[in-house]
């Protein structure tokens, strides 16, 4: 079983990504609101206020999406994204995958 973590910075593509994941037979999908650590540091700790420029141009927010599939379907997902949201293959999306076993 493959476990995926998607970090989607371009939140406006969430629907496209979810449709692609469903078509690629990724299941158990959960979506979590994420905040970039730099944003919290810059806003909460004065010494880091200067790093706010590092996240300029983005809101410092992103979606963390978790999902699993029986087999590795990431190549299928890339083909689908290439069709519906090709810009995500260049920027705004990071994908991590792990081979895992389901316990319970």
């Amino acid at each position: 079983m493959i476990f995926y973590i998607f970090i989607l910075e371009k939140e406006e593509y969430l629907d496209d990504l979810l449709e692609g994941m469903i078509e690629a037979e990724i299941e158990g999908i959960s979506i979590i609101d994420g905040t970039e650590a730099k944003k919290v540091l810059a806003e909460d700790i004065p010494i880091f206020a200067g790093i706010i420029h590092a996240i300029e141009g983005q809101r410092g927010k992103h979606k963390v999406i978790l999902g699993v599939s029986e087999n590795d379907t990431i190549e299928d997902l890339k083909k689908i994204l290439n069709d519906i949201a090709p810009c995500l293959l260049n920027s705004g999306l990071r994908v991590y995958k792990f081979r895992v076993e389901q316990d319970i």
Binding site: E19, I22, A24, E25, I80
Partner: protein
């Protein structure tokens, strides 16, 4: 899962005669000859119950009536083309010209959702929809779908 995994020429009608939602769903169900009559009646009711929740006329002339069911095994699909257009109570209020009926055993939820997403994606391409609308034979429909499947 892709549409050509479950569709063949026997499941395609390029000139639907009915112009009502109920009528075309009946026509599409009749294309699924592998499903016994008794089960087709149950599936018809389930498809119409799903339509009552929200129309599967997703706009741009496309309708994808579908249901999950316990009455049959596997996943089945039928494709119909209406030259006149069907009043499908679509989201955009426009008539439907391309219809794909999908019925699946409830246990195959993952593949069922994958197929619906696939169908929605390939039918979001305006050029493909136009070519399908003008197709002259089931074989031509299959050839068009092979290009995008």
């Amino acid at each position: 899962m892709k549409i050509l995994d479950v569709l063949d020429e026997r499941h395609i009608e390029i000139n639907l005669k009915n112009t009502t939602k109920e009528g075309v769903i009946d026509e599409l169900l009749m294309l699924l000859k592998e499903i016994p009559e008794k089960e087709r009646v149950i599936i018809r009711r389930e498809v119409m119950e799903r339509e009552a929740i929200k129309s599967t006329g997703i706009g741009h002339g496309i309708g994808v009536p579908h249901t999950e069911t316990d009455s049959i095994e596997g996943i089945h699909a039928a494709l119909g083309i209406s030259k006149k257009g069907v009043d499908f109570l679509s989201l955009d209020g426009e008539p439907v010209y391309i219809l794909i009926l999908v019925v699946a055993n409830r246990k195959l939820n993952l593949k069922y959702l994958s197929l619906l997403a696939h169908v929605a994606r390939i039918l979001s391409k305006e050029k493909i929809v136009e070519r399908l609308k003008n197709a002259n034979s089931p074989n031509e429909v299959m050839e068009i779908l092979k290009e995008v499947d």
